[in-house]
């Protein structure tokens, strides 16, 4: 990916809004990331895959401003940037939905959506926030019966929806989702996957961190695989089989996972997009 393309491109669907080049990060004697490249594009769902310890979380934390990178360049909209804090990441237009969601159970949906970014001057303008909340949830076709109930009373999928909707409040260019379906049931997972597609259709660049190959096959356009802190392949989902991606994740073509996968190939091939 030539970097000039990212710099000149203003239109969604073309070029990377966020580009990482040669990013490295060490914790003591452990090299968590070495020379990692990553492009995240508008209107596209990029899946970030890797086994445990592959460096996914470290990369997310660098993008979210939790840890600074040791070396390497981060470009946002063609400009080289330094992401020094979570606030800096948010101001830049990178929103992160963490796995634990970070919602305040005692506050209602509206309060959670706008926490830290409330509307109004000296006094909160609750009505404006409530109207914006319905608008936001409506755009996501979210199924929340009332925005004035405490978040504690919502289901897992609804809580995930609130967390994702909250990430959209500042209209960020990039939305990072950390394992959004990990704790959800079948129907709720489908709902969140729909939500991810809607984010893409709204023109956001979505970075999806997941273990779940079914989710990747369902919504991702591209998959970037990390292995032991290095890039280990980039795949267009439409042109790739799951086995190839699994092979890149595990680092071997012949192993228990691929053998099992080939035994059930006929099932897998039915699911492949033709």
């Amino acid at each position: 990916m030539p970097q000039t393309e990212a710099a000149t491109s203003q239109k969604p669907h073309v070029g990377a809004v966020l580009s990482l080049r040669g990013v490295s990060k060490s914790f003591g004697a452990v090299r968590a990331l070495s020379d990692v490249d990553l492009d995240v594009k508008r209107g596209e769902v990029t899946a970030l895959l890797g086994d445990n310890g592959a460096g996914k979380s470290t990369l997310v934390k660098i993008l979210a401003g939790v840890h600074p990178a040791d070396s390497g360049a981060i470009e946002f909209d063609g400009r080289e940037v330094v992401i020094s804090s979570p606030t800096a990441a948010r101001n830049l237009g990178i929103a992160t939905v963490y796995q634990d969601l970070a919602l305040c159970d005692n506050l209602d949906v509206v309060a959670n959506l706008f926490l830290g970014r409330e509307d109004g001057g000296l006094l909160l303008s609750e009505e404006r926030m409530e109207e914006r909340a319905w608008d936001l949830l409506g755009q996501l076709s979210a199924k929340i019966p009332s925005v004035r109930t405490a978040v504690a009373g919502l289901s897992g999928g609804q809580r995930q929806t609130v967390a994702i909707a909250r990430s959209l409040v500042g209209d960020p260019a990039v939305v990072i989702l950390d394992e959004p379906t990990a704790a959800l049931g079948v129907a709720q997972t489908a709902e969140v996957l729909n939500l991810i597609e809607r984010l893409r259709d709204r023109g956001h660049a979505v970075l999806l961190i997941t273990h779940n190959m079914a989710d990747v096959a369902a919504v991702a356009d591209r998959a970037v695989v990390l292995r032991l802190g290095r890039n280990n392949g980039e795949f267009r989902i439409a042109e790739t089989t799951s086995e190839e991606i699994v092979a890149a994740i595990t680092g071997a073509v012949d192993n228990t996972v691929t053998r099992r996968a080939s035994r059930t190939r006929h099932q897998a091939s039915e699911e492949e997009p033709s």
Partner: protein
């Protein structure tokens, strides 16, 4: 866009979901209320029931308890510790505690005592110095808490001892100082009552304020295409409030009337409640009490919240100390010791502010202190000693904490923890 407005023009945006149970009429409102209580969302209900029980029992044993004369006393007795309890509510809302409010109030009393007598300060100077001491203590607490992450329980326990020491140091050999009887603060606490006519007008103003805020809110909501709530309900509540307040004023006016210190407490509660509900600061206090990590990631500056809350709590404790010194027209080594601490903290909890943080409101300080002072006042009328009074207040506190914990568990069981 599959918006509610698009599907049905008659419905507002927030009432579009088909799963919403629409509440119309009295019976449905009542049924929803019962359902909420059974799910653990009890609010101030136990305390109101408890208060009626306590008043009923004491009145049954001594018929002068509910006399105008005694209720006037009761209202004035509530003022000082009630002000302290408002500060405690704030600290509890962020899931912390201040155990030194009693010592802090004692320190403020002794600063006032020494200031007005041997130091020869004017009253305003003495009051400002005492309140500044409260601000300083709050700043120290929040600095230690934010900088070193020591639990507030331990910080304020150490503070309790240190401030008590400071109080003894300041009073020195005096032990007890009588405030000049003609001093304005003594007059305010002992002899200041709202004139009868003004009290009726004030009650009317409070109701008018309520109606106005409700009407404005309804108008803003309609402008934002949201359901505005029922006008009938607002009018009903306003009428009940008006009758209740005017009757209260009339009853108290049969004796000396509504005392200014009590009015001060009520105004403080209304202001703090408004700040908690309607400002960004209030929102961040509840957020920190709900989940510190979520608040931090939302970009809320935690240290600001902690500093504001600890400083307000200590300063209100100092104000409470000044008020109780004025009421007793004395400051002594025993000011603020004994039951001040227990009363203020217990009032906040009994009133329905959760010890677990994030739940409660300013009104719980008012309700709680009325319960505690009713018990104290009633048992004194019944000629029972402080021994019995302490045991009974302790029992009521225990009961309140049990109710809080059980409500929490019920909320968990109903999926609304």
């Amino acid at each position: 866009m599959t918006r509610a407005r698009a599907t049905s023009a008659a419905l507002t945006v927030d009432a579009g979901d088909e799963r919403l149970i629409r509440v119309t009429g009295w019976d449905q409102s009542a049924r929803r209320f019962v359902k909420r209580v059974r799910a653990g969302d009890i609010g101030s209900l136990p305390i109101i029931v408890g208060l009626i029980l306590i008043w009923g029992i004491i009145q049954g044993l001594n018929s002068s308890f509910l006399s105008s004369r005694n209720l006037v006393n009761l209202a004035t007795q509530c003022a000082a510790d009630g002000v302290i309890a408002v500060g405690v509510v704030l600290v509890l809302l962020v899931a912390e505690i201040d155990l030194s409010v009693g010592s802090m109030s004692g320190l403020a009393s002794s600063i006032l005592g020494i200031g007005l007598t041997s130091a020869g300060w004017s009253l305003p100077v003495a009051i400002v110095v005492a309140l500044a001491a409260g601000v300083a203590v709050g700043l120290i607490y929040s600095f230690v808490y934010v900088r070193f992450n020591v639990p507030s329980f331990v910080i304020t326990l150490a503070g309790l001892l240190a401030i008590l020491g400071l109080q003894l140091q300041i009073l020195g050999a005096h032990g007890s100082i009588n405030l000049p009887f003609q001093s304005a603060i003594v007059g305010f606490m002992q002899r200041a009552f709202v004139p009868d006519t003004l009290s009726y007008i004030l009650a009317g103003v409070i109701v008018a304020w309520y109606v106005m805020t409700q009407l404005l809110r309804m108008r803003r909501r309609r402008a934002a295409h949201l359901s505005a709530g029922s006008l009938t309900k607002t009018v009903t509540v306003a009428l009940l409030l008006l009758v209740g307040l005017e009757f209260g004023c009339w009853y108290l006016n049969k004796s000396r009337g509504v005392s200014l210190p009590f009015v001060l407490l009520v105004v403080l509660v209304i202001v703090v409640d408004f700040a908690l509900r309607r400002t960004r600061w209030g929102r961040s206090v509840y957020a920190v009490g709900g989940s510190v990590e979520a608040a931090r990631r939302a970009g809320i500056k935690l240290w600001r919240v902690y500093v504001s809350v600890f400083v307000l709590c200590s300063t209100l404790a100092a104000l409470g100390g000044l008020m109780s010194a004025g009421r007793l027209s004395a400051a002594s080594i025993s000011s603020g010791t004994g039951d001040t601490n227990l009363n203020a903290i217990a009032a906040a909890v009994i009133g329905g502010t959760s010890l677990f943080g994030g739940r409660g409101n300013a009104y719980s300080a008012l309700l709680g202190i009325v319960v505690i002072e009713s018990i104290a006042n009633g048992l004194t009328l019944l000629n029972l000693t402080s021994a019995v009074r302490f045991m009974i207040t302790g029992g009521v506190l225990m009961l309140a904490v049990i109710v809080d914990s059980m409500a929490r568990r019920t909320r968990v069981a109903h999926g609304a923890a």
